[in-house]
Structures are given as structure tokens and as C-alpha cells.
């Protein structure tokens, strides 16, 4: 099957296009660096099935972070048959720099001028036909978010051809030609176009398969030296500047810039990113988000929980006593807990998070928080993994790939897993929020922030070093679209429905079995080392351990362990706070641990595990002390 790669600068609409072509499977959001993994899907081109691959956005093929590296390595892996270069037409001049770089790969290509609506808004008129002539590849115009122009794009894919690569100044071309002679046999072995290999060597970014050749590296050094001394700049910068000049000249030949419209989207930053007003507004927005989730979730839960109780009691009565009956009722409780306890908070939260993402507020929070993040040795970009962490820790850990610095990646990942994900939010809302009060729930969130900040401060002392600082594109505000919002909510909810829910049902049944067989007291006694110092009843032991599978399980199991949905009859308010505080911090769930292991390596993941559990114990003891005083 032919493989079509969607390649382009960050936030140009690749994932949106991917979804339109293959069905809704990729998360698309209005901030650069949404996609950090390869995602494969199937589509029909000219009646024939093809594989479409969505790549992380990349500004240039000279990769700057892990996500970009992934894209570049995939492009040169030999797997790609056709490149669809997705271009943000409203940023045509800058985007053409990547287009020119891609042309050096020699792969058949189609240029997709996406965001034509945005270009029009900015008063940019593009002569697509002329661009097609100059580049030597088909050019399609699309508005991926509204599905406009897709049929045309698909019809052009069979006509994809290698684009005309740019010519550089005489001295650069001379250096490239000289190197070519030495490189020719090696380039052949790598399977890459010789010109591309030579350009990368000259840029000081040797492609795989070209290292460890003393003769070659000496020739490369000489050529680089020559350019550097003649131009007074690193050859990589010389190449980049020349590509920039070529892109500007292309742009001037094909585009006309008229009058831009100025509306709320251009003016909103005057207030939202105001040096003073920006901060209180940010606090209000984030606080408002949690308040709304709490309110809506509480109402839905109140509606759904009582019928659950009745039903499971009715079911128990119907089936009578006995092992089988107990296991069935247990499984049923797991099923209903998903509906009545988890979904009421999860759905509104995911919806509001998607709204913030699509409007484009996330990178603005990164900007506003930059100065604060410097206090813990990070910069504003780390805010994006943190914010995503409120949804789920796994994408948060993966999102650290957009950070340029390895140390920043490690620190951000370690801290991001402490951010209470939606699963933990359910414990906070469903236990502390419901029985102790909204203020206590809010207090736990504040405590969480303080602990993260302190841990960050500590890590900054343990792992000194400063990254390069914040450099982040701030995309324009965009009007969110209800359909894509709901699509995204569903996409993230699916993870709960297909992974967590079966787990919930299975473990509920298993737990009922343990209880029916009379084994759970023994297990609980074994876990006394955990529950005793925290001042929790021993029945809380097994639920705490189940939380390692999925954090929300620990709450659901709690209702089962005590055999009642009214937990206030078995736990004091202080115990609820301690239990929840411990669940907030102790070791990340299995899926998160796996992600940490993949991103940071097993040793560092192990350290994070130990560290967070240590913090959780301290917090649990601290909260126990506080609630004893109160």
C-alpha cells in the first residue's frame, strides 16, 4: 500500500486534514506541538486504499526537538511514497522555507495550501497555479476545518512529483559540488538523494550512515570551515538564510498582500495578555473551569447515583445470596460507577479543556506563566504538558517532546505526573467535594500546586542547568467548532470507555469475589503498613492498591469495600481528605508509568515512582496532622 505523509510546520492543520481524510482519530488543537507521535490511518485515493500518516509539525528538517526528529527520521526512512506538504496559507512566506527544504528530499510531493480562509482574512491572495509552476508540483487549496477542497487534493495526489530544489549562491554550490565527489559512494549506501546528504553534511547535521569515515569528515570540516570564514556564520545559518531569501522571492511572485481585517481575534490579546490584567483573567478562567466542572458534575451525579443504588440492590435481591450473585452485583456496580461517578465529571471537564485548546488559550497561559516557571528552573512551554496533565498524564508525558532541552524534559515529565489527572479529579470531586465540601476540594488543588512548585524548586537545585528559554509561537485565536469539539471529547472519552470501563467492571467483579471468598481481610492486613500511618481504616488498603491500575478505581472500590455508596457513614471527613491527598500524589497509574519508561528510560521512571510515593506519604501524614488539629 502506498504511504502518504502529511508534513508541515506546527499548527498548519495536518491533524485536522488527517481526520477529514481518515475519520476522527487524531487530536487537533490550536497550539503548535499538538501531535508528538506518528499516527497512521487509511483513506481511498482514486478508488485505491492508501495509508495516510500524520506527523508532528516541524519548522525545519534541521530538527529542534524530539517531535521534529521523529518527523524527519520518518521522512528519510524510505517508507514514504508521497509527501503532502500542509502549508498554513496565511503564513505562506515562512512556510515555503520548509517546502524548499522538503524538495531536497526528492520525494513526490503535493503542496496543500490549507487555511485559505485565514489567508483571505489577512488579505493575502495566492496564485496557486503560478506556485505550482514555479515549484513543479501540484498545489491544492483547502480549508481542512470545514472539509473544503479535499476532493481536489485527493485527485492531485496521483500527480505528485519531486519538486524543483532551490539553487544556492555560487560559493555554497561550489562547496556542495566538491563534497559530492567524496560523498557519492556513501550517499548511495544511505539510499538518500546525494544532494540532500551533502546539504546535511555541510549544515553540520550528518545523516545516519555517514559517520565514522575519517576521509569524509575531514572533507566536510574543510568545506564547512571555508563557508564559515567567508560568510562569518555557521554554514547551517547560511543555508537557512538562503532558503529564506528563496522563499521570500517565491512568495513575492505568487502572492499579493492586500488589506487585513482586524477583529476580536486580533484585539483579544490586548486584554488577555495584558501585562497586568492578563494574570487575574487567567486565574478566573482556570478557576471558572474547575468550578463549572464541579457544578455540572455534581448535578449529573446527583441525578444518576440514586437509581444506581436501587438497581444494584434490586439485582442483589433478585439473584439471592451466593458467590455467583455477589460477583454479578460487583460487576454491575463497576458498570454503573462508570456512568454515575466518572462520566458526570469527565465529560464536562474534557469539553471545557477542548474549548480552551481550540480557542488557543493554552500557549497564552504558557506565556503568562513563563516568569513563574523560571523560579522552578523551567520555562513557559512546560505549562502545556502541565495543563494537558489535568486531562490525562499519558499525553502530558508525551507532550514533553516539544521541549528542546533534555533536562527540561525530565523535570517537566516528573512534575507533570503529579498534576491531578481527570481520574484523580474524580476522587477529589466524588469524595472530598461531595462529602467535605467544595472549599476542601479546591484546597487540595491549591496544595497540589504548592507541592509541585516545591518539588520543582528542589529538582532545579538537584539538576541545575538552564535551557535556552522560551521561544514559542502564539497562534491566532480561532472560533471553536462544536463538531470538532465533540469529536475531541469523544476521542478522549473513548480511552475511558474501552480501557478503563472494562477494567472497572472486571476489578469490581474480582473484588466482590475476594470479599465473597473472605480473602480481602488478609490483603487489607497486609497493607496495614500503608493505612495505619495514614490513620485510615484497613478496608481502604485494597482500594488504594487498585488505584495503581486507574486512579478513579480507588474511589469506586472504596464504595465496594465498605458495601455502601454513602461513604460519610464509614469515613470521617479527615480520613477522606487524607485518602484523597495520598491518591493525588502516590505512584502514577500503570499507563503513565509505561509512558514515563518509554520517554525517560526505566531508571528515571523508577526514580519518579519512588519520589512521588515518598511525597504522597509525606502529604498524607501532613494532612492527617492538619485534620487532627481541625
Amino acid at each position: 500500500m502506498r504511504v502518504i505523509a502529511l508534513v508541515g510546520q506546527p499548527n498548519s492543520g495536518k491533524s485536522t486534514l488527517f481526520n477529514a481524510l481518515t475519520g476522527y482519530r487524531a487530536v487537533a488543537s490550536n497550539f503548535p506541538g499538538t501531535t508528538v507521535e506518528l499516527l497512521r490511518g487509511k483513506a481511498l485515493v482514486g478508488g485505491r486504499p492508501v495509508e495516510v500518516v500524520d506527523l508532528p509539525g516541524t519548522y525545519s528538517l534541521l530538527a529542534g526537538d524530539r517531535a521534529e526528529e521523529l518527523s524527519r527520521d520518518f521522512l528519510i526512512s524510505g517508507e514514504v511514497d508521497v509527501v503532502v506538504n500542509v502549508v498554513d496559507a496565511s503564513l505562506l512566506s515562512r512556510s515555503l522555507e520548509l517546502t524548499l527544504e522538503l524538495s531536497e528530499l526528492g520525494l513526490p510531493m503535493v503542496v496543500c495550501l490549507n487555511m485559505m480562509d485565514e489567508a483571505e482574512h489577512k488579505g493575502i491572495k495566492i496564485d496557486a497555479e503560478k506556485l505550482s509552476d514555479l515549484l513543479g508540483v501540484p498545489v491544492a487549496e483547502t480549508v481542512a476545518a470545514r472539509g473544503i477542497g479535499l476532493a481536489k487534493l485527493l485527485s492531485l495526489i496521483p500527480q505528485a512529483r519531486p519538486a524543483r530544489p532551490p539553487r544556492y549562491s555560487a560559493d555554497v554550490e561550489r562547496a556542495l559540488a566538491q563534497l559530492s565527489e567524496v560523498v557519492a559512494p556513501i550517499a548511495k549506501a544511505t539510499g538518500l538523494p546525494p544532494r540532500y546528504v551533502v546539504i546535511r553534511l555541510l549544515a553540520g547535521d550528518p545523516p545516519p550512515g555517514t559517520s565514522g569515515q575519517p576521509e569524509l569528515s575531514q572533507a566536510v570540516e574543510e568545506a564547512r570551515e571555508k563557508i564559515a570564514s567567508a560568510r562569518g556564520e555557521d554554514p547551517a545559518l547560511v543555508l537557512s538564510a538562503e532558503r529564506h531569501a528563496a522563499a521570500v522571492s517565491l512568495f513575492e511572485q505568487v502572492a499579493e498582500v492586500g488589506h487585513a481585517q482586524v477583529g476580536w481575534r486580533e484585539r483579544a490579546d490586548d486584554i488577555l495578555m495584558h501585562p497586568l490584567l492578563g494574570y487575574p483573567i487567567m486565574v478566573l478562567v482556570l478557576f471558572g473551569l474547575f468550578w463549572a466542572v464541579f457544578k455540572v458534575g455534581g448535578i449529573l451525579e446527583g441525578l444518576l447515583l440514586p437509581p444506581l443504588e436501587e438497581l444494584s440492590q434490586g439485582l442483589g435481591a433478585l439473584l439471592g445470596q451466593g458467590l455467583f450473585s455477589q460477583v454479578v452485583v460487583g460487576a454491575f456496580q463497576g458498570l454503573w460507577a462508570g456512568v454515575a461517578i466518572v462520566l458526570p465529571y469527565l465529560v464536562p471537564f474534557l469539553f471545557l479543556l477542548a474549548l480552551l485548546e481550540d480557542v488557543g488559550y493554552l500557549p497564552r497561559v504558557g506565556y503568562l506563566m513563563d516568569a513563574l516557571m523560571h523560579r522552578i528552573g523551567l520555562h513557559g512551554k512546560s505549562v502545556i504538558p502541565f495543563l494537558l496533565g489535568y486531562g490525562c498524564s499519558v499525553p502530558a508525558v508525551l507532550a514533553t517532546r516539544i521541549l528542546e532541552d533534555e533536562r527540561d524534559r525530565l523535570v517537566t515529565a516528573a512534575l507533570a505526573v503529579m498534576v491531578p489527572c481527570a481520574g484523580r479529579a474524580i476522587v477529589v470531586f466524588g469524595l472530598v467535594g461531595r462529602y467535605v465540601g467544595p472549599l476542601a476540594a479546591f484546597g487540595l488543588y491549591v496544595l497540589n500546586l504548592v507541592v509541585i512548585a516545591l518539588s520543582g524548586w528542589l529538582l532545579a537545585r538537584l539538576l541545575p542547568g538552564t535551557g535556552p528559554g522560551l521561544i514559542m509561537e502564539i497562534p491566532p485565536y480561532r472560533r471553536p467548532n462544536l463538531r470538532t469539539l465533540l469529536g475531541k471529547v469523544w476521542l478522549r472519552l473513548k480511552d475511558f470507555v474501552v480501557v478503563a470501563w472494562p477494567l472497572l467492571i472486571g476489578t469490581s467483579a474480582l473484588f466482590a469475589l475476594l470479599q465473597a471468598l473472605g480473602w480481602s481481610p488478609a490483603l487489607n492486613n497486609g497493607l496495614r503498613f500503608l493505612t495505619w500511618p495514614l490513620g485510615l481504616p484497613k478496608e481502604a488498603g485494597v482500594p488504594l492498591v487498585f488505584g495503581i491500575l486507574r486512579k478513579e478505581l480507588s474511589l469506586v472500590m472504596l464504595t465496594q469495600a465498605f458495601g455502601t455508596a454513602d461513604l460519610s457513614s464509614v469515613l470521617s471527613q479527615g480520613q477522606m481528605v487524607v485518602f484523597t491527598g495520598f491518591v493525588l500524589f502516590y505512584m502514577p497509574c500503570l499507563a503513565t508509568l509505561a509512558a514515563l519508561g518509554r520517554e525517560l528510560g526505566p531508571r528515571r521512571a523508577g526514580l519518579v515512582l519512588l519520589g512521588t510515593t515518598g511525597v504522597a506519604l509525606l502529604i498524607g501524614l501532613f494532612l492527617r496532622g492538619i485534620s487532627a488539629l481541625a
Partner: protein
């Protein structure tokens, strides 16, 4: 003192004065918010220079300072119609010439 030597000695001084007034590049944070400057050079290594160049911040580019956040926070700038957030440390390495 002859006229010749006056010209010979005073001219460079005058030139340097003008240069100092108009052409001495400033670090970006010294630009008043709302003003536009032209990037003269990036004082940094290859990594930083490349990362800025990818976003269009390179010698010759026109860069407008939109706002500066307090407590040595980042700057919000606009280059080629794109908004970019830059940490304060990064911006000190971008030298610009204010444009009228």
C-alpha cells in the same frame, strides 16, 4: 588650525555621534512597547540563532514589540504577522535597530 584638519578630525566624531544616536543596536527589551525594530544580529550560538530563524527572527527581519510582562517575564513580539513569545533571557540576545 586649518580647515582641512577640522574636517578631518570633526567629521568622524560627528559620524560617530549620529551612529550612536541612531544606529547603535539595542537589546530587544529596550524597545518601547508598540515600536518596531529591525534585527541587526543575534548574540548567541548556532542553536539559538537557528531556533529563532525558524520563526522568522533573523538579521534584517522587522520585529514589533507588542507587550512585555512584568517581573522580567517574557516579551510578546510580532514578526511577519506571527506572534511569538520570547523569554527575557532570549530577548536580551536579540539586537535591534529601532525603526521610526
Amino acid at each position: 588650525m586649518g580647515r582641512g584638519s577640522l574636517v578631518r578630525e570633526a567629521f568622524p566624531v560627528i559620524i560617530r555621534l549620529i551612529m550612536n544616536f541612531d544606529f547603535e543596536p539595542l537589546p530587544l527589551p529596550s524597545l518601547p512597547p508598540g515600536r518596531t525594530g529591525q534585527v541587526v544580529r543575534i548574540q548567541g550560538g548556532r542553536g539559538l540563532t537557528l531556533r529563532l530563524a525558524r520563526l522568522g527572527i533573523r538579521p534584517g527581519a522587522r520585529i514589533r514589540l507588542i507587550s512585555a510582562s512584568p517581573f522580567s517575564g517574557p516579551l510578546l513580539v510580532e514578526v511577519d504577522g506571527v506572534r511569538v513569545a520570547l523569554g527575557r533571557g532570549v530577548t536580551r540576545r536579540i539586537l535591534v535597530r529601532p525603526l521610526p
